[in-house]
Assembly symmetry: C3
Homo-oligomer: 471 residues x 3
C-alpha cells in the first residue's frame, strides 16, 4: 500500500457514483468562494500586531480544547500538554515534547472532525502528505515550525491566503476594542469585526458580575447599578461596538428562557440580582428578561441577535479548580425552546427588521422545536450545526432534520465558531462538502433539480450568511 493520501479530493462525498458526481459538480462551483466567518473566537490582536505565531504546539494543541480534551479522556494529564495550571504548578514547556506526545496519540482522532481539520492544515498549509504518527512527528514539527517563522504565516497574510472575506471575533462590553481600533486605523483592508457578547454583565452568576457592572458604569459614565442606567450603558456600548464594525450580538445562556416583565418588576429584579441573597431563580429570570431587552435594542440598532443555550459550563470540578474555565469540560444539556422563547417572540417575533439566530447543542430540538419555530416566525433563523455537531454526521443530521419543515431559506449558512485560526477554511470546506452531498442526494432522488441545488449551494455558502448577518 502506498503512503496514505491525507486529503482525498473526493472526501466526504457519498460513495454512490451518481450522487458523488452531482456532489462534485455542485462543490466545484462553491469550493473557492470567499469565506464569510460571522461567528468565532479568534484573537483580534493577532491582526492588529500581525506578529508571528510561536511554535506548532502553542498554535495547534495548547489552545484547542477539541484536541486536548480527547487526549485527556484517554488519561493524558493536561499538564503534559502544556495547559497552564492556576496554581502555577509545573507543566510541560517544551513544544516539541508536547508535539511528540500528540503525534503518538493521533490515532485517537480517527473518525473525528479534528482529524479532518488538522489534516487539511497539514496538507494545504504545510504541504505534508504522510500521516502524522510517532515516526513523522519530528518531520511535521520541523516543517511547521519553519513555516511559522516566515512572513507568509503572519495573520494578515493568512487572511488573504485563507480567502477569508470577513472574520468576526467576540468581545464583551467591557473590552475597549483596542485591537479593533488599531486594525481600523491601520489602513489594512482585511475585515475583522467584533460582536457584542454581554454575558459577563448580563449573567448574575458570572464570576465578578458586580465588579463588571461597576466597570460598565465607569466606561459608559452611566449609573450601571440602576436599571435605567444599566440599559443605557448597554445601548452605549452596543453603539460603540457597532461603530467598530459589529453587526451582531451573541448570547450564551444556560437555557433559552426569556421573560417580558413590566419595567418596575425588572427594576426590582435587577436590584435583587445585585444583592448578596440573590437566588438561582432570580438569576435565571434576570437572564431571561435581558434576552428580551437585547431583542428590543436589536429592533432599535439593527444588530442581529444570536442565542446559543444549553451548555453546562465547566462540568468537572477538578479541571475548573486546577486549570480554569473553557478546558473542554462544557457538556450539552437538554434544551427546550417552545415555552422559553414565547415571551420574547410574543413581543418581537414579527418586529420589522429583527433577526434572532438560534443555535442548539440538543439535536432533539431540530425537528421538534427549532424547525417548526423558524418555519413560522419572521424573525427567526437557524444557526448551523455547532460545536459538537460541527462534523460530517452532525451537519448532515441538521440538514435532514430541519430542511423539510423550515426550508433552506430560514438558515444562515455556516459558522466556524473557532479560535483555531488555521482551521477556518478546513471547517468551511467540510460544511461545503456536506451541503453539496446533501443537495446531491436530493437531486439524485429527484427532490430538487440540479440548477436549484446549485443555487442553494451558493446561497448556503455565501449569500444567506451575508444577508442574515448584514455583512
Amino acid at each position: 500500500m502506498s503512503a496514505p493520501l491525507i486529503l482525498h479530493p473526493d472526501r466526504l462525498f457519498p460513495a454512490d457514483l451518481t450522487t458523488r458526481s452531482i456532489a462534485r459538480r455542485l462543490y466545484a462551483e462553491v469550493a473557492s468562494l470567499p469565506i464569510i466567518s460571522p461567528h468565532g473566537h479568534t484573537d483580534p490582536s493577532w491582526f492588529s500586531s500581525d506578529a508571528l505565531f510561536s511554535d506548532p504546539a502553542n498554535l495547534l494543541i495548547v489552545p484547542d480544547h477539541y484536541v486536548f480534551r480527547m487526549l485527556h479522556s484517554q488519561g493524558v494529564p493536561l499538564e503534559a500538554l502544556g495547559i497552564a495550571r492556576r496554581d502555577g504548578g509545573a507543566v510541560e514547556r517544551d513544544p516539541r515534547t508536547i508535539w511528540r506526545l500528540f503525534a503518538k496519540q493521533y490515532h485517537l482522532f480517527r473518525g473525528t472532525p479534528s482529524a479532518m481539520w488538522l489534516n487539511w492544515v497539514f496538507a494545504e498549509l504545510f504541504g505534508l502528505e504522510e500521516r502524522l504518527s510517532p515516526e513523522t512527528a519530528d518531520l511535521y514539527y520541523d516543517r511547521i515550525d519553519a513555516a511559522l517563522a516566515t512572513d507568509a504565516f503572519r495573520p494578515r497574510a493568512l487572511m488573504d491566503r485563507l480567502n477569508i472575506e470577513v472574520l468576526t471575533t467576540t468581545e464583551n462590553p467591557l473590552d475597549p476594542l483596542e485591537a479593533h481600533q488599531t486594525i481600523r486605523a491601520s489602513g489594512w483592508q482585511g475585515r475583522v469585526l467584533t460582536a457584542y457578547r454581554p454575558d459577563p454583565v448580563v449573567d448574575p452568576e458570572f464570576e465578578g458580575f458586580l465588579a463588571n457592572l461597576d466597570k460598565l458604569g465607569a466606561i459608559t459614565g452611566k449609573d450601571a447599578r440602576s436599571w435605567q442606567g444599566y440599559l443605557d450603558a448597554h445601548r452605549d456600548r452596543r453603539a460603540f461596538f457597532k461603530a467598530m464594525g459589529a453587526t451582531s450580538t451573541d448570547h450564551g445562556h444556560p437555557t433559552a428562557r426569556t421573560a417580558d416583565l413590566p419595567f418596575a418588576e425588572s427594576e426590582s429584579l435587577f436590584a435583587r440580582v445585585q444583592s448578596p441573597s440573590v437566588t438561582a431563580a432570580d438569576a435565571e429570570l434576570f437572564r431571561a428578561q435581558m434576552l428580551t431587552e437585547m431583542a428590543r435594542m436589536s429592533t432599535e440598532d439593527g444588530l442581529v441577535m444570536q442565542l446559543h443555550p444549553g451548555s453546562f459550563r465547566n462540568h468537572s470540578r477538578n479541571t475548573l479548580a486546577n486549570f480554569g474555565r473553557d478546558k473542554g469540560a462544557d457538556i450539552p444539556t437538554q434544551t427546550g425552546y417552545v415555552e422559553g422563547l414565547k415571551p420574547l417572540l410574543d413581543r418581537f417575533g414579527d418586529a420589522p427588521g429583527f433577526t434572532l439566530i438560534l443555535f442548539t447543542l440538543d439535536e432533539t430540538a431540530y425537528s421538534r422545536e427549532l424547525a417548526p419555530l423558524a418555519g413560522f416566525y419572521p424573525c427567526l433563523r437557524l444557526g448551523p450545526a455547532w460545536w459538537f455537531h460541527d462534523s460530517p454526521e452532525g451537519m448532515m443530521r441538521f440538514r435532514e432534520q430541519t430542511t423539510e419543515t423550515a426550508g433552506f431559506y430560514n438558515m444562515v449558512g455556516f459558522n466556524d465558531d473557532t479560535r483555531a485560526f488555521l482551521s477556518i477554511p478546513a471547517r468551511h470546506d467540510v460544511a461545503r462538502r456536506i451541503d453539496c452531498s446533501f443537495l446531491a442526494r436530493l437531486v439524485a432522488e429527484h427532490r430538487l433539480d440540479e440548477d436549484e441545488a446549485a443555487e442553494l449551494a451558493y446561497d448556503l455558502t455565501y449569500r444567506l450568511v451575508k444577508e442574515a448577518y448584514r455583512l
Copy 2:
C-alpha cells in the same frame, strides 16, 4: 438544460441502482391501490353539496397552513395571502394577486414536502409541466382556474379520480353531522365517514367549554353537568357517530397523561372543572381521566381510539389575536408516554378488541417509548409519521426507529391528516415510495426477502390500515 420535469417517475427512490430497482418493483405493485384515508380534516359539506371549488388561491393557498406559514416565516404578512383578520381588517381579496405572490416565493418550498405535494397536484391533476415561477404564475392560474370550473373537479368526481376508497373527516360531539346524513341519504356510493373528536367537550381549557357542555346536554337530553349524565351523553353521541359511519375517535391532548380515578373522585373533579376556580392541574387531570373513560367506551362500542399529544397550540400571541386559531403556529413539545399512559394501560392494555393508536410530534419517543410500548401491549398500534414528520426524511426516520422493536405489524399504515383534498393522493404516494424505498434497502441488505417485502408493501399500504381502523 431542458425544462425541469416537476414529477420524475423515480422520485424518492434511493440513488443506488440495485436498491432503486427493488424499490421500483415493490412500488409498481402498490402504486395504484385504492387510498384508505382514515384520519383527516376535509370538509364533509364538499361531498354533500358537490359544489365547484372557487379559485386556485382559495383552494390551494388560503386554507393550507403548510403553505402560508412558510411565506409568513420569510416576512410575508398573512393579510397579503388573503387570510381573514378577526377584526375584519383589510386583506388581499384578489385570488390572482395572491397566486402571483405565492409563485414569486415558490423557491422557499425547495426541499419541503409541500413542494412535492403541490407539484403532484400541478402535474397530475392540471397537466402542468413547467416549474411554478413568477414567469409561469399566470399560466398556472389560468389552467387551474379553468379546470376548477368543470364537473370533473366537483368533489364527488374527484373521489373517484383520486382513487379514494374511504375518506374520514373529523367532527366534534356537538356537530349534528348534517353533511354526513345528507351524503348517506343521497345514494352516492362514496365512503365519507366521520370520526368522534370530543376535545371541545373534554378539555376544560377549550374556549367555550361550559357552553359546550350545555349544548351536549341539550343535544342528548342528558344532564351533561353531572358526571354520570356527561358520560351517558358521550355514549349517546358515540352511538350516533357510529351510526353515521364512524369507526374511530380522535383525541388531541397537550400531553399523553391518563388517569384512572375512582368514580367519586372523577365526579368531584368534574364539578371542579366546571367551577370558576378550576386550576390548570385539575384541567390536566380531567383530560387524563377522560382518556381512560374514552378507552372504556371503546371497549364497549368498538370504536378505535386515536391519541395525538404534544402540540403547543397557537404559540404566537399576535397571530392568535389577529387571525385566530390554527394558523400554522402550533409547535411540538417534548412528550412522554411511559408514565402518562400507565393508568390507562393498566386498566385496558390487554382488553379484548380494544385498539389505541398513538401518534407523536416528538421523534425522540419513536425508539425510546413508542416502539417498546407497541411491541408489548396488545391494544397499541403506532400511527404513522405525522404533521411535521409527514415528509420523506420524517417517514424514513419513523421506519428506521420503530420497526426493529415494534415490528411492521404493530403499525397502521399511512394517514394524510389533511384538509388539502387535492393533495391526498400526493401524500399517500410519498408514503408508498418511502415505504418501498425502506423495504428495498432491507432487501438489498438481505434483511428481508423480496417476496416478504412485497407482502409488507401491500400490508402497509392497504391491509393494515383497513384492519386497524375496522374499515
Copy 3:
C-alpha cells in the same frame, strides 16, 4: 423464485458496491475472532452441570422475552406460549404446540433483530435452510429437538463450537456462586466469569430489600444494618466475586443520579431507607450515594463499573401480577446524565485506574451527553448500543452519533447482554457486520484509510473489550 436463503453471506452490508466490497474485506478479518462476552445473563449452572437442553420451545421461546413480547403485542396470551403463571394456573405445556404457534406468527419478526438472530441459530447450528413457517414448523422442531439430544449441544461443547473465549454472567451479592465454584473446581478450561450486580441490596425499592440486607449480614458476618458494616459487607462480597473471576460490577438503576454525601449523612440516610416511612426521594438518594460508594470500591479493588439507567421495569400491572418480573414489559424512559453523574465524576472522574462504562436506552443522550462526557473524562467509556438498540439500525445510530465526539477509543466494543445462549454468536456477528459497514462508509468517503479501518475493526471486536473489562 428459489427457496429463500435465510442467511445471506452479504447480509447487513451496504448496497453500494464500492462500500460493500470494503465492508467484506474488513469483515473477513474479524469474522472468526473469538467472542468476548463481558456482560450477559446466561445461567452458570448450565456450565457446571453441562446437562442437555430440554426442547426447542423451552430453549428458544419460553425464556426469550424478545420473542414472546412480540407475540403478546399481537394478542397471543402468554399462557399459550408456556410462560408460567404466578398463581400456578394452566399454561400450555406441550413444546411442539408452542413451537407451532410461534412458527405461525414468525412473520411478525420481519425486519427485527430477533429474526436475524434466530435465522443464524437455525442455519448455522441446525443446518436449516428453508424459512420457518407453518409448513416447516415440524421439520424445524424435529431437527432442533434431535440435535439438542446430542453431546455436541451440551453447554461446554457449545462454548467451543460458538468460539466464546470469555462468557460473563451476572449474580447478586447474596448468591453463593456455587455454579462458578463448581466450574472453577472442574478443571474445564472454559472461562465463565461472574459479575457483581448488587441491585437487590442497594435499591430500597427492590422486593425484599430488608430481608436481603439481613442475608447479606449473615453471609458476611458484618452488621449489614449499620452503614459501616454494610459497606464492609459489600467489600467482602466484591472480594469474593473477584476471587471467583469477576472483573466487573453491574448496576441497573432507574436514573443516572449520583450523590457524594458526608459519611454521617449517608449513615442517617441508610437508617431512613430501612424504616417503614422511607420515601421515594430517600430511596433515590440512597441509590445515588451507593453509585459513588461502588465507584470508591472500584478504585480500591479494580473492578470495572457498569451503569445502565433508564428502564421503567415491569410497566404492565397485569403482567407483573400474573407472570412476575422480566416479562418484556420494561420500557425505556428519558435519561439525563449531565447533572446526575456530576457528584460521582467530581469525586472519581480522574481517579487512576477507575473505569465506568455507561449504557443508555435513551438515544437522545448519545450525541448530547454521553459522547461529550466520554470525550472528556478519563474514567468514562461508552457501552455499546444495548437492548432495544442492539439491532442494525440501532447500532449504526450509536456509531454515527458518538464517534465524532468521543472517538472510537472511548468505546468498549460489543456486549450481547443475553440469556439466549445459542444466539450469542449471532448477536456478535451482527455487531461485527455493522461496525464493518460503518467503517467501510468512512473509508469510501475518504474519512479513514482502509488500514486504519482494519485496525479499528479488530479493536472494536476484540482488543478494546478485553482492555476495558480487564479480561
